[in-house]
Symmetry: C2
Subunit: 381 residues, 2 copies
Amino acid sequence: MKPITEEKFESILKFLEEKKIDVLMITDYENSRNVNLQYLSGHPTDATILINSSGESILIPWDVSLAEKHSEVDEIINPANFSFNIFLAMKELFENRWKKSSITVGVHSMTTYGFIVKMKAIIPGIKYFEEPIQIKQVFDKVRATKTEFEIKKLLKAAQIGTRTIRDIQDFCINTPDGTEKDLSFIVRKKIADYGGDDVAFEPLVANSSRAHEIHQYPFASDQRFGLPGLALIDFGVKYQGYNSDITVPISFGKLSDEQNKMRELAIKSYEAAIEIIDIDVPLWKIHDTAEQMLKKGSYSMPYSLGHGLGLTVHDSPSISRKPTDEYSKKHWKEETIQDGMVFAIEPGAYKQGLGGQRLENDFLIRNGKVEIITNSEPLNF
Amino acid sequence: MKPITEEKFESILKFLEEKKIDVLMITDYENSRNVNLQYLSGHPTDATILINSSGESILIPWDVSLAEKHSEVDEIINPANFSFNIFLAMKELFENRWKKSSITVGVHSMTTYGFIVKMKAIIPGIKYFEEPIQIKQVFDKVRATKTEFEIKKLLKAAQIGTRTIRDIQDFCINTPDGTEKDLSFIVRKKIADYGGDDVAFEPLVANSSRAHEIHQYPFASDQRFGLPGLALIDFGVKYQGYNSDITVPISFGKLSDEQNKMRELAIKSYEAAIEIIDIDVPLWKIHDTAEQMLKKGSYSMPYSLGHGLGLTVHDSPSISRKPTDEYSKKHWKEETIQDGMVFAIEPGAYKQGLGGQRLENDFLIRNGKVEIITNSEPLNF
């Protein structure tokens, strides 16, 4: 089943009409994933989808039998009929069926440059809509508010994540010598036991010697997790394609004054942000509120405060600072909190040698109210 | 440590000179990964690297402390000095330090179109080298033969994979009611126990009702694995960044004539391919040999026969059919088997209702000889 609603699909067609785009193209391949393929078609992976301005949808999948099982489109083209060459399949479609002297193709900004250049070389009659960022923005806007179908799955992913926090706590108490990898495995196993399909991403498990790194590499190491200081685990659950995202800040042993300050700053920054979350509040203001709080304590946050949750872990909307260059300013529109949004908030304070603390929970906006749908809080052992 | 050797780096600089490219750019971000970042710099993820024609390398990482730990570059630029906006950081570099009236930037074909358009809008003085595919090809060529440093890690990844096959066998014998997910977990756990850092990709575990799908979705389900018919498990090991890739074809119970034929075809196709692997043999010929064998039995293979193994699971070289469109033909050069190549071969036969059989092992070309470095063979229970 495809997540997109009729109403949302119509708004995309309206955009195509306004911008005089004849064909919308979304590609999803290894190393250039684009979940809008699944959002539009139900087909999960490895395909190109083309939608013309009348709303006709054509899927060219890598695996036809998978497409027959999962996709809801008007037509599936079998690439085997074109020597497994999707460009030849598109050429035939554009030149012999969607005949026009010139076809304007709107491509998503995540399409690779190599694909763009090759397609134009093989199908010279096309031209590209010159602002791929606007295609991305249309999808980001449509996907920023979730349907009931999506919210149900997101709530389940959040619930499984919350349940797993108890196991993390047990690990810290009962396995003081356990490694980061051990904890990563337990989280993965429990998520499966509780009915999750998978982790949303490789759990980031970082003891106090690594927690300042923000995105750890490797995700989990063979080091002991319970070293004294500021540690954290950042994990999520995938349930029927939908994701939750949780970070538990954990401290072990007696903390220094600076470590206590970091811990408090992360919490205060989190509280300041959720304090102002409400319908119609601009998203950049929420980011700024959290960032100002960190700055007061002389800490900074190199990333955006929050992000939507959906078919990706980093979904729309983005809860981030205002744009800083002219190009982004030109394309920026202020977004505000709206019913149907589901997102994570994750401020933190980090310093090499001391560790890191990040507190992250997931939120749902429903019937004008803010619901906190996960239950992470700072732990201390 | 960066995997690239001085000699290989020089060959890239020579290419830049020949093509009059002033700056080479590789970007690696969420949803558009490019392992050439790590290959060139040692820095694993989330950064842009710029290399000018004199060989000066500049890294703009998302996480500066991670870069300080892992990268070997001439300079790290901290994006915090540019409001975390890498385009502004590049603008400053191009306009104030690498001054030229016009700078030609060679971008890898996997860079996203949105990045290309945005960069040009923010730094109007640049122009792009018009054939991004050639940048990809230079890296593919350089990375197609592995250094001793790389081969050591690849052998270890292969060895851990081979050891895990025994556990798959045990599972089939001792856990006849186990699910695909159960087997997936065991493989993951054993790989960790044997010293692997991670799975190379989510194991594809498919019973006879799903094995025709080739790339299963989901990767592993709650269904029983040991259903009668043709099943398979496709898995790999990541060891210090390097990958192995193995598929074990498994049959349960008595097979129909057609199922026996599929099983034999997959094996014959595999044997025909390895029969001709030798120094200087064109790669397309190996693909064709395997494909012809399948076609004789009225089966086809929608994918390429084989692929290199390295920092990615689908590394160069690609062992695949000759190109089928004019653009690809223009850019194609015949590649042949060479010392230092490490690759997987994976022919298979698939039919809905009957299942699928794919046999996949990994190969190393060393001192002019072909070594099979994994040990998968068809299993029957």
